[in-house]
């Protein structure tokens, strides 16, 4: 399972009701269902991935995240998860607020655009970054709203969104040794290529 999925799992309570936005082939949802008795739905637009997820016995609904979450009532879910889709939607700020309308908590992961490799790519080569976390060329990338740890935290502050946890991970093999992990913790905006946040509407006791 992907690193950010493993971490997302830590923040999802057993037997809770979860909405997975951009659930892909349902890997995370299937894992949560089998191991934590979690119930819920996945939203996805990729045809092949939807069929793959349906074949796993999951509840998957075809929907474009750009259409918003108006079909869901307030507080319909315990947690809403969105792994690496925030940067690909038309209005990430609107969606983020909508996520916290339909669920008490949101777990969001996104590629950190301020990762040192990206900075080098742009700063020295003068080219749009292409990396493991961002494997597209500028002209065909679905990632139209890339942001950094700092950007995301600014957005949260503007909208009184409370950050419960933050995690920084690296997709690359190098990032998995203890030294690198410690360093990433010190300077996530520079060293981590994937950001994981657990947020809620307001601070809870």
């Amino acid at each position: 399972m992907r690193m950010d999925h493993q971490l997302a799992e830590r923040w999802i309570a057993p037997h809770s009701h979860v909405l997975d936005l951009g659930c892909g082939n349902g890997e995370l949802l299937a894992h949560l269902q089998q191991n934590l008795g979690v119930t819920g739905y996945g939203l996805e637009i990729d045809e092949d991935k939807i069929n793959e997820a349906i074949t796993k016995g999951l509840s998957i609904v075809e929907q474009d995240l750009n259409d918003g979450l108006s079909r869901f009532a307030d507080d319909s879910f315990d947690t809403v998860v969105m792994a690496r889709a925030l940067q690909a939607v038309k209005a990430p700020d609107v969606l983020l607020l909508d996520m916290l309308r339909v669920a008490r908590e949101a777990v969001i992961t996104f590629p950190n655009f301020a990762h040192w490799q990206n900075r080098l790519h742009l700063g020295l080569k003068g080219l749009m970054p292409v990396s493991e976390a961002l494997p597209y060329e500028w002209y065909n990338t679905p990632n139209i709203h890339l942001c950094t740890f700092k950007d995301f935290e600014q957005l949260c502050a503007q909208h009184d969104i409370h950050i419960i946890n933050r995690f920084a991970v690296s997709d690359s093999e190098k990032g998995h040794n203890p030294l690198m992990t410690a360093l990433i913790r010190q300077a996530p905006n520079l060293l981590a290529d994937v950001a994981i946040y657990r947020v809620s509407k307001q601070k809870r006791d």
């Binding site: 037997h15 119930t39 045809e47 939807i50 793959e52 796993k56 016995g57 509840s59």
Partner: protein, 443 residues
């Protein structure tokens, strides 16, 4: 209606040959023979009228396993029949209406599942309906109650056949299930009006199905849907040959009315783009004839479809089927609880609809797959999404796909890989235990 089950005829082409295909290759179920069950008990219908007894004709494909857990029920649409797959004889040119869906290694895999398709009462393909002899007109000497029938000539029901509903059909299908010894269906699958039956099943007999596949359907007809049905009915009713529905006795047939009804219906099954692609403004003779004969290809096509349909369908059945569509409303037995109106005093009608559906779906126990098609304007994707939203709002397991297909409402009869793949995947996926259901609604 009966067909030979042997396939040894020397001009046997490919029908039967595929039936015994080895695992892995997609084939036909081969030659099939319909069966008929007689139900001697009286059946009280939603309209409060009673049929003294009735017949159901059905076909089965595949083999029922020992614990009877692999049965899938197929519900047919307006003009459909029990003949969903395979062929009736060696020289039968036309396969069953859903042959691309049902067969060895197809989406509904007959190597794995025992598939049943039943013709609904009120239809004209073998189950009791308007073209069946009305028992009230048989042996008037034995039936003292029969006063208005002077001659003892048995008469068909004709217009005297009671109006039946989707709920009535589901009830008879449940009776068939009992007779077949199938306590719980692995799945119930239907497109269009068939999807309505599948949905009604999940509401009326929640413990008797594990999966429900609702394709190109709707939670209830819109005013526009009913309007089109009314035009179709008026076409038939206003045909001088209709004779108040007693055309068979009168030796006439409301052919023109039935053709017109089908032409109107057929337009709603297609799309502007599909008709443009198929016919455009092409002229049959290449020039304007300045008359009312068939000139444009699309006119020719519609007339042909109408004529062909009128030869194989009964006018009273058509009337009755369109009424069954109009009446369909799975929320009817579940009056909206006042408490559900919640704080909003003036709930919008869409909200009310959603609330009503939520009440109806609250006690369902199956997993759903809902499928719509992007170009379907008869039962548009939004209508399928109403079903999905109500199910999600009650915490029920549901998957939904909106398949990009150019054929409009008719798309559900086409072999579209993505659509077939989803149905196959859903039917073979592990059944997620009722944890989701136990959860229930949150909102």
């Amino acid at each position: 209606m009966s067909a030979r089950s042997d396939s040894t005829s020397e001009h046997s082409p490919n029908h039967a040959a595929n039936a015994t295909d080895t695992v892995g290759s997609v084939g036909s179920v081969g030659i099939v023979t319909p069966q008929t069950f007689h139900f001697a008990e009286p059946l009280t219908l939603e309209c409060n009228r009673t049929l003294p007894s009735f017949d159901l004709i059905f076909e089965t494909y595949g083999t029922l396993n020992s614990d009877k857990s692999n049965a899938i029920l197929i519900c047919h649409a307006l003009s459909g029949s029990h003949h969903a797959a395979g062929f009736h004889s060696d020289d039968d040119k036309k396969a069953g209406w859903w042959d691309n869906m049902i067969g060895p290694n197809k989406a509904i895999d007959t190597n794995q599942f025992f598939v049943v398709c039943v013709n609904n009462i009120g239809s004209c393909f073998g189950s009791t309906g308007p073209t069946t002899i009305n028992p009230d007109t048989v042996n008037s000497s034995q039936k003292s109650t029969n006063k208005n029938n002077e001659n003892s000539e048995p008469q068909v029901y004709g217009p005297d056949f009671p109006l039946v509903t989707i709920k009535d059909w589901v009830k008879t299908q449940a009776m068939l299930s009992d007779r077949l010894g199938i306590e719980v269906w692995h799945a119930i699958v239907g497109g269009s009006m068939g999807g309505m039956q599948a949905l009604q099943w999940s509401v009326d007999y929640p413990e008797r199905l594990k999966r429900c596949v609702v394709i190109a359907s709707t939670p209830k007809l819109s005013a526009q849907n009913i309007a089109f049905n009314e035009v179709a009915r008026q076409s038939i009713l206003s045909d001088p040959d209709f004779k108040d529905g007693r055309y068979l006795q009168a030796g006439t047939y409301p052919r023109r009315g039935l053709i017109l009804a089908r032409m109107v219906g057929h337009i709603t099954y297609l799309t502007d783009d599909a008709m443009k692609a198929k016919f455009g403004r092409d002229l049959k003779s290449g020039k304007f004839m300045y008359g009312y004969d068939v000139e444009f290809q699309v006119e020719s096509y519609l007339r042909y479809q109408g004529e062909r349909f009128s030869e194989n369908f009964d006018a009273n059945t058509y009337l009755l089927m369109t009424k069954a569509l109009d009446y369909f409303d799975p929320t009817r037995d579940y009056p909206l609880a006042v408490t559900l109106e919640s704080a909003s005093v003036k709930a919008e009608s869409a909200e009310k609809e959603l609330s009503a559906l939520k009440v109806a779906f609250a006690h369902t126990q199956c997993q759903y797959l809902v499928v719509s098609f992007t170009t379907d304007w008869r039962f548009a994707p939004e209508r399928s999404q109403e079903i999905v939203d109500a199910l999600m709002a009650t915490g029920k397991p549901v998957s939904y796909i909106n398949v990009d297909a150019p054929h409009g409402h008719d798309s559900f009869l086409f072999d579209i890989p993505r659509y077939m793949g989803a149905v196959k995947g859903f039917l073979t996926a592990p059944f997620i235990a009722n944890s989701m259901i136990a959860k229930g609604a949150r909102s």
